[in-house]
Symmetry: C2
Subunit: 228 residues, 2 copies
Amino acid sequence: MLAGSPRGESPARRKIAASKAASTVARVKRNEIVCDRDGWETVSTVQHFANAHLEVLTDSVRTPLHPQPRSWTIAHRKAAVVIAPMTRDGKIILIRQERIPIRAAIWEMPSGQIDRGGAGKQEIQQAALCELREEAGYELAADGELIALGYFFSSPGFTDEHCYFFLAQPVEPCADFVRDETEAILDCRPFAIEELRRMIAENEIRDANTLGICARLAARGLLSLDPR
Amino acid sequence: MLAGSPRGESPARRKIAASKAASTVARVKRNEIVCDRDGWETVSTVQHFANAHLEVLTDSVRTPLHPQPRSWTIAHRKAAVVIAPMTRDGKIILIRQERIPIRAAIWEMPSGQIDRGGAGKQEIQQAALCELREEAGYELAADGELIALGYFFSSPGFTDEHCYFFLAQPVEPCADFVRDETEAILDCRPFAIEELRRMIAENEIRDANTLGICARLAARGLLSLDPR
């Protein structure tokens, strides 16, 4: 009933020329990774919904392959960071977190959104260290290094969400850590690489952030997912 | 301006008790993977937007950790399939596809949504073989096997979208393949595992589907991401 039905859509939707929509869309859309260039052109934008975490738009877009504009509904999201915290003895710290959209608690890497759109390199790194502290209760050792590992798109068919990957190595527990009670984190502990591998193989680890950063780490020779 | 502003939300939003909302929500929400159980309870649901591809709701939910209901805005999506097509000589077929939400064409594994909610094992396998044919122009060899590799969540902080992983091995080009002109696929070809690894390491492969299935394949010993 809902699919394609006007009753399912907001009657308050607004069609705005892309140039005038810039101030509205800029927060989530214009950044160095997702923007119009090289034959991509946003012709118009209709906003359906927006709150602090999600903006839903239907964009009319010319693409290099299809110069005739195509309409596409897009969930705009802030960029995020995902951190692989590695201890001095080569273990990875995971958190177990309740995730309301999937009605489950899962083991995953610490992660979080970057509050300010268009954040620079230093702000992105700060966001990573902040999530490492707040979610895991760990921090970089005095001789530690935060290694940037690029980024990924969580579901490029419907959202512009992208997440920057970092390896933090070595990490140590924060001396004075007290978990924020409003967080949804149930547990946090180090896992040997072989245990991480088994959890990925057996579908226990099943979120894009953790699978994605593990693939990147493996391809860069920083961790092996091969069975022993 | 938009964040938290009532003007940014649809005035047509409807608050519906979860029990009455079942017929509305069932299509995208109730399935064997995402559902209320073990201390999870949906108290109410407000629908903000819906079309054939996306439904945006704010659910009020009791969780095992927080029995006091919490509000969370969720992008409901159909389940999907991701297929790693492997040739007889051990190469992986990737497609290069325009993805409007990120304004870019990227190399990735074939994938697609499962049209019917609550699809059974056989329908999910059929969807995988269908995407293999339609997107890549390949099919399972007569002695080929479709190996189920579990599933993953693309971004469990804001969407219930989950994708089933499959390895199709070995695959062969369809004899009579003609690409659908309405698809956004620019290119399709086999890649050696070492080239796939390099593309992951260098951020050329940067979508959750491809990174996620590669991590799962590696952890199950079906492909190695270790640098040679």
